[in-house]
C-alpha cells in the first residue's frame, strides 16, 4: 500500500513538530525516516498510524483519504521503541491478539501464530510472559504481533533504539531479510544514519519538523541537498570554508592552490583505512580518512605540517554551491 503525506503540520503547544511536510512512500518500499531527536520523525509516523491527528494536511493510504480514519481501521502494523508488550499475556496471546479480536477460527489463529513465531525465531517461547524475554526477543515478538493480521503497512518507531549494539546489528539484517520475504510497505524511524543507510531503499531526512531531503542512500551521501544532510548523513568536516567528507581529503607535502596548511595531531590505523587527525592554523580540528596504501606512501608522522585539499569532484557542483 502506498502512503501519501500531504502538507502535514503538527504543533504541540508552541512547539512546531511538523512544518508543512509532504512525502510519498511507494508501495512495497522500505523507507527510513531519519533525523535527530525532536525533528518530528516519530510524530510523522504516529500521524500515519492515526495515533496523532495533524493540525493541517492529510494522509492518503492507497490513494484514499485516511486522515480521519481511526487507528484500528487503518490496517497498519506499528512497532514501538519500548515494545509495548502486553505484559499480562503470553507470547502466543500477544502475537494472536489482532486475530483473537477479529474472532478468527481457533485453528487458523494457532497456525498463523506458529508461522509467525517461526518467522521471528521464537518457536520455543510461546508460553513465556514478555517479562521473561530479552529486549531483542520482545521486539521480535512485537514485530510478529504487528504482522499477524497481515497489515498493508508496517511502521516501526525507533525499533532498535533500546537494544544493545550487537542485537541491533542482528535485527537490522533480519528486518532487511524480513522485508524481502514479506514485502509489506515498511517505514521505520531512526536517529542512526548508519542504520537508515544500511537497511532502507529510500531515506527521508528530517530536521526541525521539515523534510530536508528524500532519496536513495547513495544519493543523500553524494548529493546532499543541504548542509544539514551533509553533516547528518555520513561524517563531515570543515576544511577552510567548505564542508567535506573525511575520505575526500587529500594530503600533500607541498602547498597548492586553495590548500589548507594543517598539522598532524594523531594517527590511527583502522584496518584498510587510516584516520589522520589534523589541526589548522586557527586550532580547529578535523579528521581525514585515507586509504591504507595512500597513507603508507605518504609516510606521515605526528607533528608534521602538510597541505590538505578536498577531492569532491564527483559531487554535483550545484549542491556544492548551496553548501558554501
Amino acid at each position: 500500500m502506498s502512503i501519501e503525506i500531504r502538507n502535514v503540520t503538527k504543533r504541540f503547544g508552541s512547539f512546531l513538530a511538523l512544518d508543512d511536510v509532504s512525502l510519498q512512500i511507494p508501495d512495497g518500499s522500505l523507507t527510513a525516516v531519519l533525523g535527530p531527536s525532536g525533528s518530528g520523525k516519530s510524530t510523522l509516523l504516529r500521524i500515519v498510524a492515526g495515533l496523532e491527528q495533524p493540525d493541517a494536511g492529510e494522509i492518503l493510504l492507497s490513494g484514499e483519504e485516511a486522515t480521519a480514519v481511526s487507528p484500528q481501521r487503518r490496517d497498519v502494523g506499528f512497532v514501538f521503541q519500548h515494545y509495548a508488550a502486553f505484559k499480562h499475556m503470553t507470547v502466543r496471546d500477544n502475537v494472536a491478539f489482532a486475530l483473537t479480536i477479529r474472532k478468527r477460527p481457533k485453528q487458523e489463529i494457532r497456525d498463523r501464530v506458529e508461522e509467525l513465531l517461526e518467522l521471528v525465531q521464537l518457536q520455543g517461547f510461546a508460553d513465556r510472559y514478555p517479562s521473561r524475554l530479552s529486549g531483542g526477543q520482545r521486539q521480535r515478538m512485537a514485530l510478529a504481533r504487528a504482522l499477524a493480521a497481515k497489515p498493508r503497512v508496517l511502521l516501526l518507531d525507533e525499533p532498535f533504539g533500546a537494544l544493545d549494539a550487537r542485537v541491533r546489528a542482528e535485527l537490522r539484517d533480519w528486518l532487511r531479510r524480513l522485508h524481502e520475504e514479506v514485502h509489506v510497505t515498511t517505514v521505520f524511524v531512526t536517529h542512526d544514519q548508519e542504520e537508515a543507510m544500511e537497511i532502507a531503499d529510500r531515506v527521508a531526512v528530517f530536521d526541525h519538523g521539515r523534510l530536508e531531503q528524500v532519496g536513495a542512500p547513495a544519493e543523500l551521501y553524494d548529493t546532499p541537498a543541504s548542509e544539514f544532510v551533509l553533516r547528518f548523513v555520513g561524517d563531515a568536516v570543515r576544511l577552510g570554508s567548505a564542508l567535506v567528507r573525511p575520505h575526500e581529503i587529500v594530503l600533500r607535502r607541498w602547498p597548492s592552490d586553495g590548500a589548507v596548511e594543517v598539522e598532524i595531531e594523531r594517527i590511527a590505523v583502522l584496518g584498510a583505512d587510516a584516520r589522520v587527525e589534523l589541526s589548522d592554523g586557527d586550532g580547529d580540528r578535523l579528521s581525514a580518512r585515507l586509504r591504507r596504501d595512500e597513507f603508507e606512501d605518504l609516510d606521515l608522522t605526528r607533528g608534521e605540517i602538510v597541505w590538505a585539499t578536498a577531492s569532491a569532484s564527483h559531487r554535483d557542483a550545484k549542491a556544492q554551491q548551496t553548501l558554501r
Binding site: P71, R73, G77, A84, I101
Partner: protein, 263 residues
C-alpha cells in the same frame, strides 16, 4: 545490626500496644465465658438485622465505588479537561473530612429544610433515618480507595499498550477489557478490599443519618455502641468480634492477593 533490631522492636512494639492489644482484649473478653453466650447474642434477631443492613450498604457501595473509582482514575490519568485538579482533590475529601461532618452534611441536604428534603417528602420518599441514608453515607465515606489505588498504577503503565492494541484493530471497549483492566487488576482488587473494609466499619456518618432505630436502621457498628450505652458489654464484644474477624479476613485476603513485588 543492633540498630536494625531496635527499629524492628519499635515498629512491632508500637503495633502491639496500639493495635493488637485492644483487638486481643476484645477476643479474650468475648470468649471468656465460652461460645454459648456469644452465639446467643449473634443469633438474636436485632443483631442479625444490623448485620444485614451493614452488608446491604456494603454490597451497594463497593460495586458503585469500584466503577466510579476506575472511571475517575482513567479520567484523571488519561484525559485532559478543565477541573481535573478539582476532581483529583475532591476524591480525597471523604478522607479529609470527619465522617460525622459528612453525616451532618447529608442530614442537612436530605432533612426537612434541605435542598432535596421537601421534594423527596412530597413524593413520599424516606431517605433520612432509613436505608437510603445509610447507603448514601457508606458510599460517601468509601469513595477514594479504588481511585487512589488505581491512579499510580495507570500513571506508571502509560498508554502504549492501549495504542498498540488500537493499531492491532481493537475498539475502545476491547482495549478496556483486554488491556487496561487486566493491567490494573491488582490495584482494583486491592482497592475493592480496602473499600469493603471501610464500608463494614463505617460508624460516624451512619450514626448521624440512620436514626439508629433498633431492628430497623441499626448497623453492626451502631449496634455495638448502643449495647455499650446500655451496659451490655458482653453483647457488644460478641458483635465487635465478628467485625474484627471480618477485618482480619480482609487483611489476610489483601496479603494473599497482593503481588509479591508490591510488598
Amino acid at each position: 545490626m543492633p540498630r536494625r533490631l531496635g527499629l524492628r522492636a519499635i515498629a512491632l512494639g508500637y503495633l502491639l500496644v496500639i493495635l493488637l492489644a485492644p483487638l486481643g482484649m476484645v477476643f479474650y473478653r468475648t470468649f471468656q465465658h465460652g461460645l454459648e453466650p456469644v452465639w446467643r447474642v449473634l443469633s438474636d434477631h436485632y443483631t442479625v438485622h444490623a448485620f444485614e443492613i451493614t452488608l446491604i450498604a456494603t454490597a451497594l457501595a463497593v460495586p458503585l465505588n469500584t466503577v466510579f473509582g476506575v472511571l475517575c482514575a482513567l479520567a484523571i490519568v488519561r484525559r485532559r479537561f478543565r477541573g481535573k485538579g478539582l476532581l483529583n482533590a475532591f476524591i480525597d475529601l471523604p478522607l479529609a473530612v470527619s465522617p460525622v461532618v459528612i453525616g451532618l452534611a447529608l442530614y442537612l441536604l436530605y432533612g426537612r429544610t434541605g435542598w432535596f428534603g421537601p421534594w423527596l417528602q412530597a413524593h413520599g420518599i424516606q431517605v433520612l433515618f432509613a436505608l437510603p441514608a445509610i447507603v448514601l453515607a457508606t458510599i460517601f465515606v468509601s469513595v477514594p480507595f479504588v481511585a487512589r489505588e488505581v491512579i499510580p498504577v495507570l500513571r506508571e503503565q502509560g498508554n502504549e499498550q492501549e495504542q498498540a492494541a488500537a493499531t492491532l484493530g481493537a475498539s475502545r471497549w476491547q482495549r478496556f477489557w483486554r488491556i487496561t483492566l487486566p493491567s490494573i487488576r491488582w490495584a482494583v482488587i486491592y482497592g475493592v478490599i480496602l473499600t469493603t473494609a471501610r464500608c463494614l466499619g463505617e460508624y460516624g456518618a451512619v450514626a448521624v443519618v440512620s436514626g439508629r432505630i433498633e431492628g430497623k436502621t441499626e448497623t453492626a457498628t451502631t449496634l455495638i455502641d448502643d449495647m455499650i450505652q446500655n451496659f451490655q458489654n458482653g453483647d457488644a464484644y460478641a458483635v465487635a468480634v465478628v467485625l474484627a474477624a471480618i477485618a482480619v479476613l480482609v487483611l489476610v485476603l489483601m496479603t494473599v492477593t497482593r503481588p509479591k513485588e508490591a510488598l
